[in-house]
Symmetry: C2
Subunit: 203 residues, 2 copies
């Protein structure tokens, strides 16, 4: 799925209008929907076997990718071992990068209750790590994440990764899970400066 230069310019404009910290978010937001404009965001895309994470910093109104990666847990590992690894790796990341906000995707569909509970477990281990490090945790709508980085809600994984690479000036295409996490962080930054009915929600 290609993205034209025109589309890219439009998306870049939208992103920057969101990322600029000139007007305090609280002044523009509806009461009860204030979403803080911050300098550094950790995006997380939690899953038991491959949790993506990415740290995005806003420098002079522009988002920059600081670090990203994937917490990989082999299928042979017990679930609790994966949860431990997810929790500890994210704590290590936050020891290195002092993010102020953690962004995750809002609750969404799972194939069935069993996969929903297992996905929830990965989320819980990850969110507890962020909370211990003092970060406020926000959910962004999954449709907004894809819209923010690829212009429409049905973007494929590879399109998200390419867009994230361009937006953050990364020399290499990020891994799919890390790209998703970076996209979540970018979406938070974009949405934090805007008036929106579907703004990031503190959870």
């Amino acid at each position: 799925m290609g993205i034209s230069s025109k589309e890219f310019a439009e998306l870049q404009r939208r992103l920057e209008s969101g990322a600029k910290a000139g007007t305090p978010a609280a002044k523009r937001a509806l009461p009860g929907t204030e979403v803080p404009v911050v300098r550094m965001v950790l995006g997380i895309d939690p899953s038991l076997r491959g949790t993506g994470w990415g740290v995005v910093e806003v420098v002079g109104g522009r988002p920059m990718g600081l670090a990203a990666g994937t917490v990989r847990c082999p299928a042979s590992w017990a679930r609790s071992r994966c949860l431990l690894r997810i929790h500890e790796e994210l704590r290590d990341v936050l020891g290195l990068h002092r993010a102020e906000v953690c962004a995750v995707e809002g609750l969404f569909h799972a194939r069935n209750l069993r996969t929903a509970i297992i996905m929830g477990e990965a989320r819980g281990a990850a969110m507890a790590a962020a909370a211990i490090s003092g970060l406020a945790v926000y959910e962004v709508a999954p449709s907004k994440v894809k819209l923010a980085v690829a212009g429409h809600g049905g973007a494929r994984k590879i399109a998200v990764a390419r867009m994230v690479q361009r937006m953050l000036g990364l020399s290499e295409l990020p891994e799919p899970d890390a790209a998703d996490a970076l996209a979540i962080a970018l979406t938070y930054i974009q949405e934090a400066g805007r008036l929106s009915l579907n703004a990031p929600k503190r959870v």
Copy 2:
């Protein structure tokens, strides 16, 4: 729901036959189903607003309640704040009581995907706390928990609490969530010494 003395004696007998550590579990279990017989078990019944926990120690073949409680999180708290509290309180409990195994209920039904994910988040925060403290985490079947403490699978909460109180010689009726957690720990102890097709499963 009352429990007769005869029922109690039968359940006590079943419990003790399970709790005795005379024969190493590995010698009696099917290959791949070894469940360690241990001295101290932390049972957890995770939920976002009221996570029950209970520590049971086996002394001379008999289970004794060491400590139990409920991690309460008001409805006004953000989810991530609850997850932090659950994680930290359980780590404090494990700092005081050196349990070797953590037992939780096996994956079960939830009303819908949203509640399943939220319940999973509480489980993940709790299981990560146990894993950080070096405990192996086991799931016991929910039907076994009720069967173990009240003789049939449809036992009501109050019946579970009463039976747990009698089995552990507690002077007061435990709170419902704490009683459930103690029942989960008791079930692990009972099942660990037995040959069972539905034995506790390491997760």
